[in-house]
Symmetry: D5
Subunit: 116 residues, 10 copies
């Protein structure tokens, strides 16, 4: 659980009888490497099937921006964002994929999934 979870807001899903998919892509994610203090950059892709709640986009933007000056590892930030969103939205299914920019000529992608 991150310190920023409370920033996330939800609105009622008006079509709960139907399984459908929402995909949100944020190519301007940035955080800080806890080892080197250097900024990391990446694309955060959140895909989910809502149950009773959908994430409010503006609140999600502020939530993701909160990591801007946080020192956190790739694997941790991806799992934490999934945990926060699952706690707030209780979706039927959710996937968070984080594609980080190359460092030292090497690129890493972390993909985490939750199933209700």
């Amino acid at each position: 659980m991150s310190d920023f979870r409370s920033l996330l807001e939800a609105f009622d899903n008006k079509f709960p009888d139907r399984d459908y998919r929402i995909e949100i892509v944020s190519p301007e994610f940035t955080s800080v490497c806890p080892k080197t203090g250097q900024p990391d950059f990446g694309t955060m892709t959140i895909t989910y099937t809502p149950d009773q709640k959908c994430v409010e986009l503006k609140s999600l933007k502020f939530y993701l921006q909160s990591y801007r000056n946080e020192g956190i590892f790739y694997e941790n930030v991806t799992n934490t964002i999934l945990d926060d969103l699952v706690a707030v939205l209780e979706p039927r299914w959710m996937k968070v994929q984080a594609d980080f920019n190359a460092r030292g000529g090497i690129t890493e992608t972390v993909t985490v999934e939750h199933r209700a």
Copy 2:
């Protein structure tokens, strides 16, 4: 159900014995954000297997253009277009995918499916 459903026209499927797929892509969809009053832009992709009826393309164009000055959220417009088309065409299967342009650096895609 939208106010524009009656704009949709259908013609008889001449090959009802065969399951086949029609995909229609409209990259010029635009509506208005009900919160900010700002225009939204996106690509609407409609894929379906017709049963007895196919959608007439010109009527679909006018139907989609009707949202031009409507204030409606992403999730609602996608589900409503599916509802309208399913009511008029009674397809064996249909999917509506809406890819909205980035707002605040964040892009959203909504994908809704119907199976007869």
Copy 3:
């Protein structure tokens, strides 16, 4: 069945013991809209697993060119080309996909399949 079916020629499949796939792409397909008289343009993709016969490419080219001045709807031309090819080749499996160019900002793809 089109008027042009007799243009299609076949040659013997020399490898009938093996299930394999042939894909033919013709990006220069053109016919005429029966409503407006305006030319339509598209890409015709034919994929099949031959049984005893393969289509002769030059005859297929002439067959597809026969639609140049024909007034025919998207759904009809795609299904008719499949019917003609299935009748002449009796393939184990065949798919015809027609990707038509945008009209009024809207693009349509029709995909039809036959299984022996």
Copy 4:
């Protein structure tokens, strides 16, 4: 001169001693064809060398959105946007390029230039 010119706001160029270039791309421009009443879509690219004033981006967004329900021809809208911006900004040089989406399979680009 358009009815919307007064929407444009400028701010002081803090580097008037230097000739430099600002390019603004708005891929979500839409107006209406005065003949058919059908919506037109395109990308508006504005490039200029400021003299004493730079255009304020948010006011430019509102200005461009004002054409949403206006009936106006390609050539006229491009020349009019240049006239309005030149009147408000008095730039050393300015170019407006409008790339309109295909209609009837045909695409048009209009490019207009002003030199002080």
Copy 5:
């Protein structure tokens, strides 16, 4: 001079005091090879600086469609289209570029220019 020149219609240039550029791209040009009788396909790009007249887009579409069943060589069709447009529009400058699809693995582009 082609038989189709009379199809071209012009409208008054409302901005004759300004040198500006109009580019029209028609990726659905088709004619017939006079030698083989086989259809040719290509993209016709017309760029010009209007003087007193601009070409009306719908009439240009019909004009270009007239070549659909004409037997004419690459070099001739490109030069003839330039001649017809120059005669009707009397532009300050005009360029016609024809990019023909590959035949026998070889692609040809013809580019013709007129300066008043």
Copy 6:
């Protein structure tokens, strides 16, 4: 079986306990059309799971070059290359895909598979 099979050389697979995949792409394949005498060009893609033997790359290059002046149809050359490679390597699984360049505006791909 081709005349060139003996050109193919194999080396021992050092990891026979593991199922893995090797994909070899040769975009410079050329042969001759037996009907017209005209050269054909294409990309040959060979994918396989080795059993006890892997193909030696240089010998494969010489083998594929042997078709340079051979008159052979698309379907035959693809099936023959598969037959030769299967005979020499006895793989657990193999696929040969041949993507030939457009002739008369039409492209053909042949895909052939072998399973031990």
Copy 7:
């Protein structure tokens, strides 16, 4: 002049007799909008012909990172970076181009040049 200028380090150009060009692209530039407090993202491209000094890349990285939490407008940051680099390097020629990501569907690029 920015507060960060002193971060920039230079090394001696070993080839001062030759006019040559160095281009440095930093696609991970981020600052903050002074109006909205929202982060901006962009690509900073620095091109120059060195005289006696070249910029040390690591120091340039730290210099560009210093803007991470600074509130500064597009035009100002681009001109200021040029001023700082010119002061430290005294190049024969330098260009700074800043391509900022879309905000409200609108993209801005600022290009500033210095000539000794």
Copy 8:
């Protein structure tokens, strides 16, 4: 097992209760052909589901760089890297894919998988 296995370091997976996927792409892999002594270049893609341990990225970079002057065949290096990583990380699942640059106009990709 390579001589470089000891270079690989692991850190504890903090989310062992969840099956998730990490993909690491290193497009700057280079080794030497043991036959010709010529350098080989390629992209190494490592994908895995961690169990108790994740690979430390910097140590992986040094590990992969160790092959820089090693003479080793495509199939061997791919299998050996998998063996080393499996020994150190004991992942639930892992795949190593090596895409080598063209030699003599021919490209080879080797894909190796491990399942716990």
Copy 9:
């Protein structure tokens, strides 16, 4: 001068009063390396302004195919093709560009020009 020059045929330029440009792209050029006997592949691009004569495309195709089994260096084949075409067509201007595929990871392009 090559042995194949006599294969080139010309037809009369019907628009000799106008300077215009013809570009011919042949992406299926192949010859043989005189040193190694290995086939070379490349794209031959011929651009010219005709005077009294244009090259007949089919004859050009046969001319270029003649190099299929010829041993000839990159620089020589490019210059020789220019010499042959200039001798036959006497163009006002001509450029021949040969882009050869990579060998040993290295690509070469030769560009030769003639001005009357």
Copy 10:
């Protein structure tokens, strides 16, 4: 001057009366950073107009490979390669462009020119 200059071999330009251009692209250049000991990767593009001599491609490949384990800065390696090639070939004009891969999210290109 590098230690490897003597590796470069030249052959006689058979067309010295004509100014023409040769471009050689080597996307597999690698050297070592003298500061960090880490490998650098890039694409070396050499363009020149030969006078009496052309560079022999295989010798150029060996020459470029010599930098594989050399510690040398971006600016130095680019200028040195130009110096070596100019000394050996005495070309009428030559340009060397080195595009290095990103390090720390920053990419550098060095472009050096020589004119006889």
